[in-house]
């Protein structure tokens, strides 16, 4: 019905016209057929024949009158003549004759004349001259009448035929014109249909164009969103680096003797920077989730430990505010579950943090249960201010908080719950809450988590790596335009026993590489004029060693297809700034690593990296337990010697004291970060600890910190705690050793010059 209504009027009219003309043509054709069956047509010939025969029989009878003598034969002739009259008066013929004879009344006259003859024949005894005369006298008018009848019949039939022909002609013309009109209408309808089809096609095409445009704009919107996320991530990342400087420096400042107001300022700087770092980390997390870079772990973990650690973390704050903080695990919660404990902890900590933040007095409790269909339900209940209905719908939106006053009073990025929701839904679960203003809130989330398989204790991937020592004295080229980054790379690579040359631009890199070959080139991607891609392409085009030398990209960007573009340009690897020495070490091992991967004794062979075999060597690092620190040296004497070369022993001692005072704070922060599941924070701190330790020659502590840093990204919470314990454990023996070295050095003369030279060769 809807379709029918959509047909245009002209099409409906056209179809109606075709139908009308068709019916009319049928009627006309029917009339033609019916006409042909009319009386005149069917017995017209018979009528003429009958009239003619009457006339002829009458003439024959008159002719016979004189010749025949046999009265009986003559009678038969008369009978035959009489039968003709009967035929004229009966049946279809009779009917037609009545019409023909309407005006002239010939047939009644013929009949009466015939009756006269009949009477004469009846009274006839014999045939004599007199009777012949009288019969002839009666026959003559009959013949006259019959002749007139023949003429009348012919005239009538002729006229009838003509009329008939004219009528038929008219009908035929009618039929023809109707057929013509019908064809015309069909033509029109066809044209309409064609036009209709064309219009349909046009509108379809228009829709198609519209659809494509919409798709394009959707794509653009998506691209813009991605660009925004990337920008956020980049900016956060960029902010974090100087922020670390601020935090570190303010920490240093706090460690110095200061007057009270300076100390207060330093504290404020430190706190602010810490908060800022937290916000930045939130944003980084959020943008990572937004751009689909969220990857979930699937490891076994103890739920009870996780919950207890989280609660323990907040206990001091709760106690400070006078809030009771309790947790309750239902009996049926399995001991171990399989999933991403770090993300689970993040969600729980967020909810707990909010609960405590918004509760002034009363209690906060965590309740955990596990359903039969393997879903974990965690709910956090507080007796805080509650959430009004107006705030309700804004709660899970990014960058929104309950209301503006909340933001002013409590701070925060407004991303916490958004991140929680994204994380929970990434795990396939739901997060919800109920709340009443003034009575408190209850937030809960439900995620499907399977029971863990019986523990097998093969956590290979989480084990830290021990690299075999590098062939020392490798010549490396760092192509980098930023002066600070140049220095960082130089120091780190020199620490790893390499000789470093710096090219400050792409042009310089091309020039330097004209000379002696390098074992590896680190290539910054973003440089003015000639960028890293182009430099690499030009190097690869050369016929000399440059075509084969490993080139490793260094970039600050972490998004997009940069990695693929690097490989396409001919690079071998890809490092993300800020560079960590673990990363660098792994990269160096991968590309120019020592031939013998089973040994951890520093190799003297400086040329190993230039062999073609460097590609596959050292790709499989040796694995060892994190705590198995057996006969590892605690101090890097060469570093200490170097330190001593630049600083007075007294200054070194001061530095060590500062370090000694700082370390408990660092370790505490690390522990907090690990418990919070703040991977980036852990990495940052571990990196800091590592850097400090290495610069003081505390190589074992540095190594532990490095392990922690490199494991932070992947290893489960338990393992990180273990690594942190290992770090803590080796700290005081190392410091003792350092004290001993300081004491020892102050007593003996310095001769590190020789040892250094022997190492360099």
């Amino acid at each position: 019905m809807v379709n029918y209504l959509r047909y245009p009027l002209r099409l409906k009219l056209g179809a109606a016209a075709v139908l009308g003309f068709f019916i009319a043509a049928l009627v006309v054709a029917g009339m033609i057929v019916w006409r042909q069956e009319s009386l005149a047509n069917s017995v017209g010939g018979d009528v003429t024949w009958a009239a003619y025969k009457l006339d002829r029989e009458a003439i024959q009878l008159r002719d016979k009158l004189d010749e025949v003598n046999d009265l009986d034969a003559l009678r038969i002739k008369f009978e035959l003549l009489y039968s003709r009259l009967n035929i004229l008066q009966r049946g279809d013929i009779g009917e037609l004759f009545q019409r023909i004879d309407d005006q002239t009344q010939l047939i009644p006259a013929i009949a009466s004349q015939m009756d006269i003859l009949d009477l004469q024949f009846g009274g006839l005894e014999r045939l004599d001259e007199a009777s012949r005369r009288s019969l002839q006298a009666a026959l003559d008018p009959l013949i006259d009448l019959s002749q007139r009848l023949v003429i009348a019949t012919n005239t009538h039939l002729g006229k009838a035929k003509q009329q008939e022909r004219e009528a038929l002609q008219w009908l035929h013309w009618m039929l023809l014109s109707l057929l013509g009109l019908m064809s015309l209408s069909i033509l029109m309808v066809t044209r309409f249909l064609f036009r209709e089809a064309r219009e349909n096609a046009e509108s379809r095409r228009a829709q198609e164009v519209l659809r494509r445009r919409l798709e394009e704009s959707a794509q653009k919107a998506q691209d813009a969103n991605e660009a925004k996320s990337e920008f956020l991530a980049t900016v956060s990342h960029e902010i974090r680096t100087p922020l670390n400087g601020v935090i570190g420096m303010s920490e240093m400042l706090r460690g110095r003797p200061l007057d009270p107001s300076s100390r207060r300022y330093a504290e404020i700087i430190h706190d602010s920077a810490d908060k800022l770092l937290g916000l930045i980390n939130d944003i980084l997390d959020f943008s990572r989730i937004e751009s689909g870079h969220l990857e979930l772990e699937h490891v076994d973990f103890s739920l009870q430990e996780l919950i207890e650690a989280a609660v323990r973390l907040f206990e001091p704050r709760a106690a400070y505010k006078g809030i009771t903080l309790t947790s309750q695990l239902a009996d049926d919660v399995p001991e171990r579950l399989q999933g991403d404990p770090g993300r689970l902890r993040q969600v729980l900590l967020n909810l707990l943090s909010n609960a405590i933040k918004f509760t002034e007095h009363g209690d906060v409790s965590v309740q955990v249960s596990y359903s039969a269909d393997e879903r974990l339900l965690v709910s956090v209940r507080d007796s805080g201010s509650g959430i009004s209905d107006e705030q309700r719908h804004r709660l899970f939106e990014p960058f929104r908080q309950g209301d503006a006053s909340t933001a002013r009073r409590f701070g925060g990025s407004g991303l916490g719950l958004v991140i929680c929701r994204r994380l929970v839904s990434a795990m396939g679960g739901d997060i919800e809450f109920i709340s009443r203003v003034g009575e408190g809130s209850r937030f809960w989330f439900e995620v499907p988590l399977r029971r863990a398989n019986p523990p097998e204790q093969t956590n290979k991937s989480a084990e830290p790596h021990f690299w075999p020592a590098l062939p020392s004295g490798q010549r490396l080229l760092v192509v980098e335009d930023n002066a600070i980054n140049q220095q960082v790379a130089r120091i780190m690579l020199t620490r790893l026993g390499c000789r470093v040359e710096i090219a400050s631009s792409g042009e310089e890199a091309l020039r330097i590489t004209q000379g002696d070959p390098f074992a590896l080139i680190f290539m910054d991607l973003q440089m003015p004029l000639l960028d890293g891609f182009e430099v690499t392409r030009q190097l690869r085009r050369r016929a000399d060693w440059c075509a084969r030398v490993p080139i490793v990209a260094m970039t600050a960007g972490t998004f997009g297809d940069e990695h693929a573009r690097c490989l396409a340009a001919g690079m071998n690897d890809y490092l993300i700034k800020p560079l960590s020495s673990a990363q660098l070490q792994a990269t160096l091992h991968h590309h120019i690593g020592g031939m013998d991967e089973t040994t951890s004794i520093p190799s003297e062979d400086g040329r190993a990296g230039e062999d073609g075999a460097s590609e596959e060597s050292a790709s499989e690092p040796i694995e060892a337990s994190a705590v198995d620190s057996g006969n590892e040296p605690r101090l890097a004497l060469d570093v200490l010697d170097e330190l001593h070369e630049h600083l007075a022993l007294e200054d070194v001692r001061k530095l060590v004291n500062v370090y000694r005072r700082q370390m408990p704070g660092r370790l505490e922060a690390l522990s907090l970060a690990i418990n919070n599941g703040q991977v980036d924070q852990v990495m940052q701190l571990a990196h800091l600890v590592k850097g400090e330790a290495l610069s003081l020659g505390l190589c074992q502590v540095g190594e532990r910190a490095r392990e922690l840093e490199s494991a932070a990204q992947r290893a489960p919470h338990d393992h990180l705690t273990m690594l942190l314990d290992a770090l803590e454990n080796c700290l005081s023996p190392s410091l003792d050793d350092l004290e001993a070295w300081l004491d020892g050095t102050s007593l003996r003369p310095i001769d590190m010059q020789d040892s250094r030279e022997s190492n360099a060769e």
Binding site: G45, D46, I76, E79, S83, N86, G91, I93
Partner: protein, 171 residues
């Protein structure tokens, strides 16, 4: 069916009716009254030279067929009686494709044998119980069953409907 088949069928009919044992009793007697019909041509049984002559009595010995029908030449529905033409032909042992029927006034109609085999065509002798006289198509009238077969109402059949029949020639 073609003419050969008709001839064959007729021949079979004739041979069955006129077995040699009955030939004597079935052979055509001499007419005693006025001769109404003279059959000539390809016939086996004759009573006047090579012709077979029938008077009213002889025709009455043949099974009488009643045909009630309209005709183009009469008003209303009429009841006609008379022998079937194919019975007449059987009686004379006719063997041919066509009948040439001649009227007293010299009119000649040609009737294919197939007509009298396919349709119950009679040689009407009376209408509504009264014998047909010359004035009324008599004494013999070839009449097709028009009402039974409406498609017979054509010019052709009307020309074959001979009245005042005097002679039939089989060939």
């Amino acid at each position: 069916m073609n003419s050969i088949t008709y001839s064959l069928a007729l021949f079979l009919l004739v041979s069955l009716s006129f077995l040699p044992a009955h030939a004597g009793s079935l052979s055509l007697p001499q007419p005693t009254g006025n001769v109404l019909l003279e059959v000539s041509g390809d016939i086996r049984y004759t009573n006047a030279g090579d012709k077979a002559r029938f008077d009213r009595k002889m025709l009455h010995t043949l099974p009488t067929h009643v045909l009630t029908t309209h005709t183009p030449w009469t008003d209303g529905k009429r009841q006609f009686r008379g022998p079937l033409i194919r019975d007449v032909l059987s009686r004379v042992g006719a063997d041919g494709d066509e009948l040439r029927v001649e009227a007293m006034n010299g009119y000649i109609g040609l009737i294919p044998i197939s007509d009298v085999v396919d349709y119950d065509v009679i040689l009407a002798m009376s209408m509504d119980g009264k014998p047909l006289v010359i004035r009324n198509f008599g004494p013999l009238f070839v009449l097709y069953p028009f009402d039974e077969n409406p498609d017979l109402n054509t010019e052709d059949i009307r020309y074959r409907s001979v009245w005042q029949v005097a002679k039939i020639h089989v060939h």
